[in-house]
Symmetry: C2
Amino acid sequence: MVPEKQIPIPTIERLSKVYGLCELLGGDTATVVSSAMIAAHLGASADVVRRDITYLGSDIGNNGSGYAIGRLRERIAVALDLARVRRACVVGLGRLGSAILEHDRFAAAGYEVVAGFDSSINRLETIHTRVRVYPAYEMVDVIRREQIEVALVTVPAEAAQQCADAAVSAGVRCVVNFAPVVVKVASEAVVRNVDIMNELRVVTAMARGRGSSAESSPEQHQAVVQLSTA
Amino acid sequence: MVPEKQIPIPTIERLSKVYGLCELLGGDTATVVSSAMIAAHLGASADVVRRDITYLGSDIGNNGSGYAIGRLRERIAVALDLARVRRACVVGLGRLGSAILEHDRFAAAGYEVVAGFDSSINRLETIHTRVRVYPAYEMVDVIRREQIEVALVTVPAEAAQQCADAAVSAGVRCVVNFAPVVVKVASEAVVRNVDIMNELRVVTAMARGRGSSAESSPEQHQAVVQLSTA
DNA sequence: GACTGTGAATATATTCACAGCG
DNA sequence: CGCTGTGAATATATTCACAGTC
């Protein structure tokens, strides 16, 4: 056992955000960030950021100063396997699906959206997008042919499980499901369920007893340490 | 200290899903569900479901048989403060914002979307929706006047923090932020950051070492125990 | 002096396992 | 039985605190 090192999911979630942050900061050059700065942007503690970074291996941080952005980003890319560009598709082209299909930031993040699917021919005809769209029954073929690895599922709840299954059977290994059901996938793939309506309820429930925000951690809403995008 | 009982966040997240499930199943009547059935729908263990339910108080479950759906839903509504209808708004009417604005399931979930805001007059004029839309500079006034408690923020990253702050200052207590930055809010409010692009990266990273899906728990992808919507 | 990296301590969340009930 | 409810055991994640380095 213990093939590699197995990174805990909370750590993956944060490192993945750090990765996005690195891209945002762009500086391939020797610009450095400290764990405290990163923490401020993440809403986490500097401790946890440093601990997370240890999962990336050694010789990352310059002692005394912080982490070189370029190196950090690169190391995360390797550890989380984000270095390679992946082909993705959107299954279900309703309002949310079309919005995602048209979303521009995919390319920058290393995803290439190469197909959209919907069961309504009508919708396929009226839709206005640069991405090529196909009728639902061609999904398995297209995914296979186009070597698509990632599926964003934005179909109604009733269809979500079935769509995910079909996509995975065709070779997809990563599913992000936006339908308000918890989708499960065969063990060769991984799924993440994003339920917007549920987020609404959660935030409402969190507002209940608490006076203080929970997701925003230690230092409660104070101006971020350094670094502003513009 | 210890004013009430303080429900842990993972529990809130799950109970909130259970609430959604109860609504889906509709059965006000004496229909019952077991912790195992709920667990199957949630991708969690029956243990954790039962433990979660203990946070709702006592006399919920019928021993021997399961939980009466009606009672369960009601109890969750009370504990999570979901009983009351809340007024919500969408800040930023780009593709995602408009998609959310038009989304129909809010009403059923107890939210009334009464306003949309955008800084582009052009966009406000071309948009086609039943919800009333306003220019950005009216946001604070409208939120105050309309007693809006919830804001869904779908503006670009640069503007998200500022929008959230403005909304909170006008009386909003719950913010769901979809911009790819971690937004923080003053302590009288609560925020939930939903970063779609990050979810993509996370699912990709999770697919890395693992052969098995992580979010889908114990029983890996087998047909759900009972209950199918249709 | 300003940082990282990490053991040890702590807090938090999940699972086990079983008593108790209809 | 089949199922809930819950102490006790365990696993997981965060924080503390500090030695070590440029």
